[in-house]
């Protein structure tokens, strides 16, 4: 129980870290990868919260499909945000 709680806290922490990096990153491809990492951390947390049904849909959609759609959109515009390179 304690172990699961601690791993869950770790997963949410990792997700917060990834979210922060995704927001701050000027390179949009990197930001997308950070976003996928955040999703992976959430998937771990959801698994520990005993919601395996959600995990199965969440991993496929948030890590696979969503990331691919974002990368596709980025390929249509510029990779770097603003003028900082």
């Amino acid at each position: 129980m304690i172990l699961a709680t601690l791993i869950m806290a770790f997963a949410f922490t990792l997700a917060a870290l990834f979210s922060y990096l995704a927001i701050k990153s000027k390179d949009l491809v990197k930001a997308t990868v950070f976003s996928a990492g955040q999703s992976a951390a959430f998937a771990l947390a959801l698994f520990l919260l005993m919601a395996p049904d959600i995990v199965l849909a969440y991993v496929a959609v948030a890590v696979g499909i969503y990331t691919a759609l974002l990368l596709y959109i980025i390929s249509k515009t510029e990779r770097y945000e603003g003028d900082e390179r």
Binding site: T5, A16, D53, G64, I65, L69
Partner: protein, 268 residues
């Protein structure tokens, strides 16, 4: 700048870690109790209750029995919303119907990513298919179901498009938009049939899975021989798997059409 950012991120994360740990370990007055609420208790008690079959869904998977039995109409509307979204996507891309597939290898250039990526994709792709099919066929017994399996399946073509190319999918595997649309329609028609069948067979409600005291006839058996199929849940899962998987694949096929082709067709 960079170091400051990382320090800021780590500080935020540490704060969150401490707060979450403290709350979860019970420092605050209210933590989520381990007891189950009455509604959840009802589902857990009755979804696979062989001694009192008045309310059962014949499935040990409480989530699937909720999705396709207890609140089945709701899931049906979700499916139709998804169907409308895909149809509007297809309507946006209708202009491209003419060509595609005609474009083979351009001047003998190797399309797609490096050999390493291609080889690992070749290994991973069948595994994705197997996982998707097993999640769909076992959706009424283990975690998972139609939507989950469909979205897992859709990752396979996506990976192929990224690692090989769109032309590989179109020319080598003969996967076209029309085929995806057909598969998707088959899935939806199956769902509608399974929904309507109880009414035709003489039950009182649409989507009735197992016999109820006020409506004793039901066309779906809980098991066929040694196979436990949980009545209509198995068929609905498979149909939803087809619909969602083919729908997502169709979307990726449309999105991955190269921009030059659009320009050529539109005459820009």
């Amino acid at each position: 700048m960079r170091g400051k950012d990382v320090a800021m991120g780590i500080a935020t994360a540490l704060l969150l870690f401490v707060v979450v740990a403290i709350v979860l370990l019970g420092a605050t007055a209210y933590t989520p109790s381990r007891e189950i609420r009455p509604l959840a208790k009802f589902y857990l008690e009755y979804c696979m209750n062989v001694f009192n079959k008045d309310w059962w869904a014949a499935s040990p998977e409480a989530v699937t029995s909720m999705l396709w039995d207890y609140r089945g109409i709701d899931t049906y509307y979700e499916t139709s919303v998804f169907f409308l979204a895909i149809i509007s996507g297809v309507a946006l891309f209708r202009i491209v119907e003419v060509k595609l597939g005609a474009e083979g290898k351009k001047e003998g250039k190797e399309l797609g990513l490096s050999l390493i990526v291609k080889t690992s994709t070749r290994i991973v792709f069948p595994l994705i298919l197997i996982v998707a099919v097993s999640v769909a066929l076992h959706g009424h017994l283990t975690p998972g179901g139609g939507f989950q399996a469909g979205s897992i399946l859709a990752v396979g073509p996506l990976l192929l498009i990224a690692a090989f190319s769109r032309h590989f999918l179109g020319n080598r595997l003969r996967l076209s938009e029309d085929k995806c649309l057909t598969l998707r329609s088959i899935g939806l028609i199956l769902i509608v049939l399974v929904i309507a069948l109880p009414l035709i067979a003489g039950a009182v409600a649409l989507m009735q899975n197992q016999p109820k005291p006020w409506s004793p006839t039901s066309p779906f058996p809980a098991y066929v021989g040694p196979l436990w199929i949980s009545g209509s849940l198995f068929f609905l899962n498979v149909a939803e798997f087809l619909a969602v998987g083919a729908g997502f694949t169709l979307l990726f096929l449309l999105l991955s059409i190269p921009e030059e082709d659009f320009r050529r067709i539109l005459g820009l």
